[in-house]
């Protein structure tokens, strides 16, 4: 009798589902789904019938079209920003030439400050045309673009001849007048 009690009865082994790997799998799948989910907002636009037209502003203001131009002036550089629109204007900076690394940084800073003051007036402008003299280098161009891109996202390059022409037309310095 005692031996029967002491003897362990064989248990029927019930197979259990291992929860740990299942939970790991579900956690990874959930992370995957959360990261890959993108919510799409459906919109629609309704065009009015062609017979009906409403004109609220028949005279659109002229575009601002800012142009950032840089040319060599003597031992340094003249960097100037011109814009059109209802209140056309111009702003310029003279950058002295020195060590190449210092000069390109100065050009970048000058372009940055010109664009910064322009953006304070015209915050909605998101593009600028950049034109440089034919003898400015690729590095100088990149540095000026770096300064401008801090404020605008789109840059269009314009011809060197246009930069020279605008410089000749707008340079009010005494040296330019005597030429």
């Amino acid at each position: 009798m005692i031996e029967e009690f002491l003897q362990k009865k064989p248990h029927r082994h019930v197979k259990e589902i291992p929860l740990a790997p299942v939970l790991d799998l579900l956690v990874v799948v959930i992370f995957f789904l959360v990261l890959s989910t993108s919510f799409i907002d459906l919109t629609k636009q309704t065009l009015p019938p062609s017979a009906v037209s409403t004109i609220t502003d028949p005279v659109a203001p002229p575009p601002v079209s800012p142009k950032l131009l840089g040319v060599r002036k003597g031992a340094g550089y003249r960097l100037f920003l011109r814009w059109s629109g209802e209140s056309p204007g111009q702003d310029e900076k003279i950058v002295a030439a020195g060590e190449p690394a210092v000069t390109v940084r100065a050009l970048e800073t000058a372009a940055f400050e010109l664009m910064k003051s322009f953006k304070e007036r015209y915050a909605s402008q998101s593009s600028v045309q950049i034109g440089l003299g034919p003898d400015l280098t690729y590095q100088e161009m990149i540095s000026i673009m770096d300064g401008a891109r801090a404020h605008v996202g789109e840059i269009v390059m314009i011809a060197p001849a246009e930069a020279l022409a605008l410089d000749a037309a707008t340079d009010a310095s005494p040296a330019a007048k005597t030429q």
Binding site: A20, P21, V29, E140, I142, S143, D146, M157
Partner: protein, 158 residues
């Protein structure tokens, strides 16, 4: 009496291999599905020093135009084009016409594909703006939509 109390043996912790295999297999599937294979290297000719820029934009794997001191090379074919031909006031326009045809053919062949019409531009930092602009102008007239300037990462100026 003391024989009835068996000392409690600490069983060594065994790593649950099944769970680890599941996690690693999912990670491997994730990485394989998310990996993008492509040629992302820019070919820099010897003795060519690109300019430095504070831009943090990553480079794109697109065809490359290289401006050398006397010629222009493209990565999408083995042709070279005489650089003076791109300048307005000198050189023969035949090389420019050939360049435009080749770029136009590249743009047409890549229509509908990712990064169609985008080209990388590589040049030495001392290259004049006139040469840069001439090549960009020819590429844009041939249908290139965007030109990306390849530069070395420089210090962030504040």
């Amino acid at each position: 009496m003391s024989m009835m109390f068996k000392p409690h043996r600490h069983e060594p912790t065994e790593p649950q291999l099944a769970a680890m295999i599941d996690v690693f297999s999912i990670l491997i599937i994730f990485l394989i599905a998310g990996t993008v294979m492509g040629t992302s290297s820019v070919i820099l000719p010897p003795d060519l020093m690109p300019p430095t820029s504070i831009s943090r934009e990553t480079m794109m794997s697109v065809p490359q135009i290289t401006i050398l001191p006397d010629r222009v090379q493209t990565s999408f074919n083995a042709n070279t084009y005489s650089l003076p031909g791109f300048l307005v006031r000198e050189g023969a326009p035949e090389d420019v016409a050939r360049f435009k045809n080749d770029v136009a053919a590249l743009v047409a062949a890549s229509q509908g594909k990712e990064n169609a019409g985008i080209l990388n531009l590589v040049a030495d930092r001392s290259t004049s703006y006139e040469k840069i602009f001439s090549v960009i102008k020819a590429a844009r007239e041939a249908g290139a939509e965007s030109i990306l300037f390849v530069a070395l990462s420089g210090q962030n100026h504040e």
